[in-house]
Symmetry: C2
C-alpha cells in the first residue's frame, strides 16, 4: 500500500497529471483498450476491464471525459427542470422523461426551482454551462430571463404549457382548462350546487400567477357559466404554502365559513390535505363531501376512498417533449406547439350530494 502511494506521488511529482498513456503502460494494454474500458465498450474482457480499473484506481487517473464531450460540443444529456420535487406530478414526469430518453441513448438530470423564477434562470445557466443537448422545462412558473438565455444559447428546449416559442424552442400544452371543465361538469351532473375551489398560489403576492393554475380556474368558471348566483354557491379559497398543508388549512377555514358538498382541489397534493382536513373533522368522503383532484398521480389510487381526478398523460407528455427536443437536436427548425388532452378519471371520492 505504501509503495502504491509512493508510486503515485512520485509520478505526480514527475509529470503532473496522470495520463491515459500511463494507465495503458502499467496495465500492459493498448491505449484503445483503456479507452474501451472508459467508454464502456463491450469488446474488453471482464478480466482486462478489472485490471485496467484497478490501475486507474492505483494511479489516481481522472479520465478527462469532458474533453471528448467538448470535442463533440454537446453532451448526450437532457436537462429537466421542474417546479417541485415533492409533487408526484413532477417526479412522475421526470421519471417518464428519463426512461424514454435512455431508450434514445441520452441520460437526464434534474433540477428543481421551488417555483422561484430566479432559480429557473440559475438552472438554465447551469445546464447551458454543462452543454446539455436540450432542456425540458417542466415548470408551472415562468421566467422571461430564463427564456432569453435559452433563446440566445440556441440550445433546444421544450416548455410545458408556458407559451414560449422560438427557433429550437417549442411548447407542449396539456389541456388543463378542458380537464377542469369536465371535472366540474361531473360534479354538477351529480347534483352538486355548493362547490369549493381550493387553489395554492405562491406565498409571494408579487409573483406572477402560474399559467397552469390560471387555466384550471378558467375551466372551472367555464363549467359554471349559465348558472345564476341563485342556482349555485361557489367559493374560492387560495391558500399558499406546502400544497398538502394548504389543502388541510383551507378546509379548516372553509368549514367555519361556508356550506359545501363538493371540493375541487387544484392538484392531487392539495386534495391529500383536503382529505385529511375533512376526515379530521369527522366528515365522510364522498357521503358528506365529494372531492376532485388534478393530475392523476400515484397517490390517487391509494387514498381512502380512491380519488376522482383529472389525468394529465405523463407518458405522452414525455414522448412529445422528447420528440420535439430530438427534432431540434437533429436540425429541425419548425416552431411547434403540441396539444395533449386532459380528462377525468372517476374513482370513489365523488357521489351525489346527501343534501343540496
Amino acid at each position: 500500500m505504501a509503495s502504491k502511494r509512493e508510486a503515485k506521488s512520485a509520478s505526480t511529482r514527475r509529470g503532473g497529471r496522470i495520463k491515459i498513456q500511463d494507465v495503458a503502460r502499467v496495465a500492459q494494454v493498448s491505449l484503445s483498450t483503456v479507452s474501451g474500458v472508459l467508454n464502456e465498450k463491450s469488446n474488453v474482457s471482464p478480466e482486462t476491464r478489472l485490471r485496467v480499473l484497478d490501475v486507474i484506481a492505483q494511479l489516481g487517473y481522472t479520465p478527462n471525459l469532458f474533453a471528448s464531450n467538448l470535442a463533440r460540443r454537446r453532451t448526450k444529456l437532457i436537462g429537466i427542470i421542474v417546479s417541485d420535487l415533492l409533487n408526484p406530478f413532477f417526479a412522475e414526469a421526470a421519471k417518464a422523461l428519463d426512461a424514454q430518453a435512455r431508450e434514445h441513448g441520452y441520460e437526464t438530470f434534474l433540477t428543481s426551482t421551488d417555483f422561484i423564477p430566479e432559480k429557473q434562470t440559475a438552472a438554465v445557466r447551469q445546464m447551458l454551462s454543462l452543454r446539455v443537448a436540450g432542456i425540458a422545462m417542466m415548470t408551472s412558473e415562468n421566467d422571461p430571463e430564463a427564456f432569453f438565455l435559452l433563446k440566445s444559447s440556441g440550445t433546444p428546449a421544450v416548455y410545458l404549457d408556458n407559451n414560449h416559442a422560438s427557433d429550437n424552442i417549442g411548447t407542449v400544452h396539456v389541456d388543463k382548462r378542458h380537464g377542469m371543465f369536465v371535472a366540474v361538469q361531473h360534479l354538477l351532473k351529480l347534483g352538486h350546487r355548493r362547490i369549493l375551489l381550493i387553489k395554492n398560489s405562491l406565498p409571494d403576492v408579487m409573483a406572477p400567477p402560474m399559467l397552469s393554475h390560471m387555466e384550471r380556474q378558467l375551466g372551472f368558471e367555464e363549467a359554471l357559466h349559465g348558472y345564476s348566483a341563485k342556482q349555485i354557491d361557489v367559493h374560492i379559497i387560495d391558500e399558499p404554502g406546502e400544497p398538502a398543508s394548504a389543502g388541510c388549512t383551507a378546509i379548516e377555514k372553509a368549514l367555519q365559513q361556508y356550506k359545501f358538498t363538493a371540493v375541487v382541489a387544484i392538484n392531487d397534493l392539495v386534495a391529500l390535505g383536503v382529505f385529511r382536513g375533512l376526515q379530521a373533522a369527522g366528515l365522510s368522503i364522498p357521503q358528506d363531501v365529494s372531492v376532485v383532484g388534478f393530475d392523476n398521480t400515484y397517490l390517487c389510487q391509494f387514498l381512502h376512498p380512491p380519488l376522482t381526478t383529472v389525468a394529465t398523460p405523463r407518458e405522452d407528455l414525455a414522448r412529445q417533449v422528447l420528440r420535439m427536443l430530438f427534432g431540434y437536436i437533429d436540425g429541425d427548425n419548425v416552431v411547434e406547439e403540441q396539444a395533449l388532452p386532459a380528462d377525468i378519471v372517476i374513482r370513489e371520492s365523488t357521489a351525489k350530494p346527501r343534501t343540496k
Copy 2:
C-alpha cells in the same frame, strides 16, 4: 427583423463563433459589463442589463461558461444520486441538500437510479464527466463499480449508509436498526403479539439485498429477541414492485393467510398501500390493526389516521453530508463516518390491540 438575421449570418460567415467582444461592441458597453451581466453581478443597472441581454439574443451569442469552469477545474456543483424519485424520503433529502448547498454558493442536480446498480455507475460517470465538485450518493442499493470510479477520480463523495470509505469518500449512517427496534418495542408495549412485517425488495432476485432494508429487519428481529414462538406470532411478507402497490398487495395476501393486529411497513410508501389495503377490506386503523411506517415523510401527517413512523432526520443528514463533502473539497483527507439517530414518532395509527 430581416436585417438582424442578415447581420447575424454575416458575422457568422465572417468570423465563425460570436465572441463576447462582439456583444460589448454592439451593446456599446465594456467587456467587464458584459461579463457582469453573464455572471449576475449586481453592479450592472437594469437598463444596461436588458440591453446586453437583448444584444446577446440578437447575435445568438453563447457564453462559453464552461471554459471558466474548466479553468477552475471544478464546477460549483454537487451531484445528488437517489434511488427513487417517487419516494418522498429521497425527494425530501434532495430538497434539503439543495437548499443547504445553495447557502454555500453551490448548486445541485439530481439523478435517480431506480435501484439499478448499472444506473448508479452511469450516473457517477455522467457526474464525473461534468466535473462536479462532489457527489452525494443517497441510494439504498450499492454498486462496487460506481465506488471504483469515484475512488479513482478523486472526486469527493459521501454515501448514505453503505459502508464505503476511502480518501475523499465518507459515509453518513442513519441508525435505522435502532429506529426499527424502538418501533417494534412500541408495538410490543401496546400489547401486540401478532405482528406482520412487510418488506419491498427488488423484483430481481439476483440483486444484492439493500443494506438499509437489512438493517431495518435486524432491528425488527432484535426487538423480538427473548420472546418464544408461543408468545409471539410474526410473519414477514416480501412483496416486490412499486412500494405503495406492494403494501396493498401484501395486505390482501396476508388477510387470507394470517391473523395479525399490527403491521410494520418497511417504509412510509409501503404503509400508504397498507392503509389502502386494510381500509378497502373494511378494517379500521388503529382499532382493528395498528400500522407503523418508516422515514417520517410528509405523507405521514396527511394520512387518515396520521401515521406512526420512524423519523430519519433529513435536515441533519443533509448537513452532515455537505459538511463532509465541503471538507473534502477544501482538502481534508480524513476518512470519516458519521452516525445519525433514528427515532419513533408516535401518531394515531397505533393503539392497543382489540384482540390478542
